[in-house]
């Protein structure tokens, strides 16, 4: 009789998550708690880190039904896997974004490509240490500092690396104010940082309406692999700029964005199970992501200095590092670094030009990569 009770309780215990709990789960729960702490106390990307952190905690409690097939987090991940969520994020972003600074000064869009050298340094570095070229491409895109694009490329090229790539991309975006300034100051003189930019021209309503239509046509014609992302970005922007669909623009920028952010963050966190995340690969991806950011910052600044060799009116090289697609963080960093040398040098509006162009730069880099690695 006693043995029967014993085997009863043993069978019950074996079905609980506690029976399968290992130290790796504890580490990842601590990672999740740290993310929530960073979000709440340090105010680092709270909209992203709270959801990712919480679902990371839940995913590391063995037996949680939420992450199993049929569970809510499992279906949230389907939204990522089927590439439904990243275009919807871009839809909301487009509805919130004023592309005026980019339209007003077209020559600065070149910085949106120059600042992406980091993608390729990381790609080559990843190949050097043994990743496949598909994995290397997905890792390299971290350097574009574009979360939805990083997710998009990871799902296409290396879905098994999605947790590491998305965590690296979003974490480094939040850390840009720490990573970028030393590189920017190393590559520029005080005199260069104090260059003031001329006042920008006003962009007309007609130009603002034509912009998303023209860009959607160009991207669909020349880069179909990334057309879903850029097309939705442009649709959201069109809703914003035509002014006759303000409620749709508001819905895209608020309701849709908020719902998608919740689903996306729990989906990303749900992939951070200890057995998949606590690997040497994760450390390598995170290290390569940092290399991508540092080189991208540097190449953007150097790109601006190269442009100055050909321009009558020099541009402030700090605008170059804003070419990394993390909108508006990279632009804000350029603005703040400029203010440190000249408290009246307000670069934010000018820096938004290359910052927005960086979104296209990342999309172009990713699209060309997909076309070469996965031709249809």
């Amino acid at each position: 009789m006693l043995e029967q009770f014993e085997s009863f309780f043993a069978a019950l215990a074996a079905q609980t998550g506690l029976a399968h709990f290992w130290w790796g789960n504890l580490v990842m729960i601590a990672v999740g708690v740290t993310m929530i702490w960073l979000a709440v106390v340090k105010k680092y990307e709270p909209l992203l880190l709270v959801g990712i952190g919480f679902s990371c905690i839940v995913s590391n409690v063995p037996g949680s039904d939420l992450i199993l097939e049929g569970g809510l987090f499992h279906y949230a991940y389907k939204g990522v896997e089927l590439l439904i969520l990243p275009p919807l994020i871009f839809f909301g972003v487009g509805a919130m974004t004023d592309f005026g600074p980019m339209i007003a000064n077209p020559k600065l869009v070149l910085l949106g490509a120059a600042a992406h050298l980091g993608i390729f340094v990381a790609l080559i570095g990843a190949k050097l240490i043994g990743f496949t070229i598909y994995e290397a491409g997905a890792i390299g895109i971290i350097g574009g500092a574009d979360g939805p694009m990083a997710i998009f490329m990871a799902v296409k090229l290396a879905p098994h690396l999605l947790p590491q790539i998305s965590v690296a991309a979003y974490s480094y975006m939040a850390l840009m104010p720490l990573i970028q300034p030393p590189v920017m100051k190393l590559l520029t003189s005080r005199r260069e940082r104090m260059i003031r930019m001329p006042k920008m021209r006003q962009v007309s309503r007609l130009e603002r309406i034509a912009f998303p239509i023209v860009i959607a046509i160009i991207v669909n014609l020349f880069l179909p692999p990334v057309a879903p992302l850029i097309t939705m970005l442009m649709l959201g922007n069109l809703f914003r700029e035509v002014l006759v669909t303000e409620r749709l623009a508001r819905t895209a920028a608020n309701g849709v964005m908020n719902v998608v952010i919740v689903i996306l963050t729990v989906a990303i966190g749900s992939t951070m199970a200890a057995d998949k995340f606590l690997t040497w690969q994760t450390i390598e991806v995170i290290g390569l992501g940092l290399i991508a950011f540092v080189f991208g910052t540097g190449s953007g600044v150097v790109g601006a200095k190269i442009m100055n060799l050909f321009l009558k009116e020099p541009i402030n090289p700090l605008l170059g590092s804003a070419g990394i697609a993390s909108v508006p963080i990279a632009a804000r960093v350029s603005h703040v670094v400029a203010l440190q040398d000249d408290p009246e040098n307000f670069l934010i509006y000018h820096a938004m030009g290359p910052n927005l162009a960086g979104v296209f730069g990342t999309a172009l880099s990713g699209g060309i990569m997909l076309a070469l690695l996965m031709p249809s």
């Binding site: 050097l128 070229i133 160009i218 020349f222 006759v244």
Partner: protein
């Protein structure tokens, strides 16, 4: 896959991608530089466009 899964392939991919993206974004820049020509067609009044639909 057009590009081989080797270090050489990674370098070739990177060089082509980087320079092509500069060319394509330059093309977008040219298109943006031409957008002001649209203003010759007329002007849209923001006040008349605004309204809840």
């Amino acid at each position: 896959m057009i590009v081989p899964d080797t270090l050489q392939g990674a370098v070739v991919l990177s060089v082509i991608d980087f320079f092509l993206s500069i060319v394509m974004i330059g093309g977008i820049g040219v298109v943006l530089a031409l957008l002001p020509l649209l203003n010759r067609l007329g002007r849209l009044d923001d006040t008349s466009l605004r309204g809840d639909h």
